[in-house]
């Protein structure tokens, strides 16, 4: 365990150097929220309704602010990191290190995200709360935190999988981008899944991606009962297990390839 805490501590120190990088969110996030707010206030007003597909304007704005919160919380660069290492040949160096590359990167990401909590996440939430009067449920906050952590792990595993395509397709930026676009839609990061036609909603309920954004956010908005919430948390864990096994499998295959063929 001490191995890992060392990695986390160093990556927090590392993050401090990039504080300006992170601070840029404090400019882009409020503006995006403002634009979103302007758009949907106009739409709600023009349509003369209070609720669209189960969301009031306040709930929708809250939803949007929370997509930022959870997006930053789950962000990891693992897919780009792997591609970069494979392309530059540096992956061989990484493989010589005692800690499995994916595992060490996981803890580095935890370090970075911990720092991001203070510089980005909490400020963005505060901006939403103070200026845009968003509403979240205090009761469900602990469930949300748990769900967000699960989402973080799930995002990491999925990104690692996509990143590992680099072992077979060295220049995989196209695949990474396609993945991002599709997942944005299917996770509810663009607009809540309930806005989509029912066939699309049905599709998204089968897939794991709604657990990255839509479900966690709705938990905090208090849209589910406690029982439902716990069920969703359970399903998140299930998906984590599934993707974990896939990752281990693909990683082994990748290592075989590296050993046999080289990069």
């Amino acid at each position: 365990m001490s191995k890992f805490s060392g990695v986390v501590k160093t990556s927090i120190k590392d993050s401090i150097v990039y504080r300006f990088d992170m601070a840029i969110t404090l400019i882009t996030a409020p503006i995006s929220i403002l634009v979103f707010y302007s758009l949907w206030s106009a739409i709600y007003k023009y349509s003369g309704v209070d609720v669209i597909r189960g969301f009031t304007l306040v709930q929708l704005i809250s939803y949007y602010v929370l997509t930022w919160v959870i997006g930053i919380f789950s962000y990891s660069n693992i897919e780009d990191a792997i591609s970069h290492q494979v392309r530059s040949g540096g992956i061989t160096k990484e493989l010589l290190k005692p800690l499995n590359y994916l595992v060490s990167n996981f803890f580095i990401t935890i370090g970075h995200r911990s720092f991001a909590m203070f510089i980005e996440i909490i400020p963005v939430f505060a901006i939403g709360f103070i200026f845009f009067k968003i509403k979240t449920s205090l009761t469900y906050l602990p469930f949300f935190l748990l769900s967000a952590i699960f989402a973080f792990i799930l995002v990491y595993l999925i990104s690692a999988l996509v990143g590992m395509t680099a072992f077979w397709l060295v220049h995989n930026r196209g695949i990474v981008k396609i993945k991002r676009v599709l997942i944005n839609f299917l996770s509810g990061a663009v607009i809540p899944l309930t806005f989509f036609p029912s066939w699309f909603q049905k599709l998204s309920y089968i897939l794991p991606f709604q657990y990255l954004t839509f479900i966690p956010i709705n938990i905090w908005l208090g849209k589910y009962t406690i029982i439902q919430t716990i069920q969703f948390l359970g399903i998140q864990l299930l998906w984590i297990a599934v993707f974990y096994m896939i990752c281990v499998f693909v990683w082994k295959a990748a290592m075989k390839k590296v050993a046999a063929v080289g990069i």
């Binding site: 634009v35 220049h171 995989n172 930026r173 981008k177 396609i178 663009v190 607009i191």
Partner: protein
């Protein structure tokens, strides 16, 4: 600066850029596909919005899709011709090789711009044109206002170019921050929806102070007859001034780099 020399350098380095991506054909086409896909999905969201609500005041679905397609064309043009400028500057400063640019017998900004052709952007331009084409077909709309539309569109690209120059100038001070790209995105965020969704104060701000609203709003609005052709004259001055400002900022940053050693 010699314009002819600029075009010769631009032509040669663009040819080389295309040769360069052709070295990895599959990856290149996959990337083009991903960009194209990402853009084509944008009007899909609009369709969804118009299914669940009455949409944006003053714009029906086809008009709004035209609006979005316009924005995509502007961004595509920017991506194809000016975006790399920022990335190249940041990399060069980060790796300590920016000096090489200063060793070329050509003004640094012009040189970097000539080097900035990115074939990826063509996918976005294509997607944008298809989307606009679809919208125009749906509205059965074709007349000569299209020329003014194109002119305003080009002014919008000039605006994006100025933003890029400003962000690149900051690379010398804030070394190693790739998030400068997001500063440009700020303007793009304001351009995403017609100015009709904003209140009067913001509308003024987005027209005259930071003319982000112009990117898609004015070209589309003029085409749809929602604004008169005279907006062109309203826009030329602020955008030109903004451009001149960005050039001045670049020169100041280079001077600072020369005196600090990078």
């Amino acid at each position: 600066m010699n314009i002819i020399k600029f075009f010769r350098i631009w032509k040669r380095s663009s040819e080389m850029a295309i040769e360069h991506v052709m070295a990895y054909k599959t990856a290149f086409f996959l990337l083009l596909l991903s960009l194209f896909l990402g853009d084509i999905l944008i009007p899909v969201i609009s369709v969804v919005i118009y299914q669940v609500s009455s949409g944006i005041p003053g714009w029906n679905l086809a008009e709004f899709v035209l609006f979005q397609g316009t924005l995509i064309i502007v961004i595509g043009l920017w991506h194809a011709f000016f975006a790399s400028l920022l990335g190249e500057t940041i990399s060069a400063v980060e790796e300590g090789i920016f000096d090489r640019t200063l060793l070329k017998p050509f003004p640094s900004l012009a040189f970097l711009t000539a080097y900035s052709f990115d074939p990826d952007g063509l996918a976005e331009i294509a997607a944008g044109i298809i989307i606009v084409g679809w919208a125009l077909a749906k509205m059965n709309f074709f007349n000569s206002t299209i020329l003014i539309y194109i002119l305003i569109l080009l002014l919008a690209v000039l605006f994006e170019y100025s933003l890029t120059i400003i962000a690149a100038s900051m690379a010398f001070t804030f070394v190693r921050t790739w998030r400068l790209f997001e500063l440009i995105n700020i303007a793009e965020r304001f351009s995403r929806y017609p100015l009709d969704v904003y209140n009067k104060g913001m509308r003024f701000f987005l027209t005259f102070i930071v003319p982000a609203g112009i990117a898609a709003y004015y070209p589309a609005a003029v085409l749809m007859g929602k604004q008169t052709v005279f907006v062109v004259f309203e826009m030329i001055i602020p955008i030109s001034l903004f451009f001149v400002f960005s050039l001045w900022l670049w020169n100041i940053s280079i001077r600072k780099y020369n005196s600090a050693g990078g």
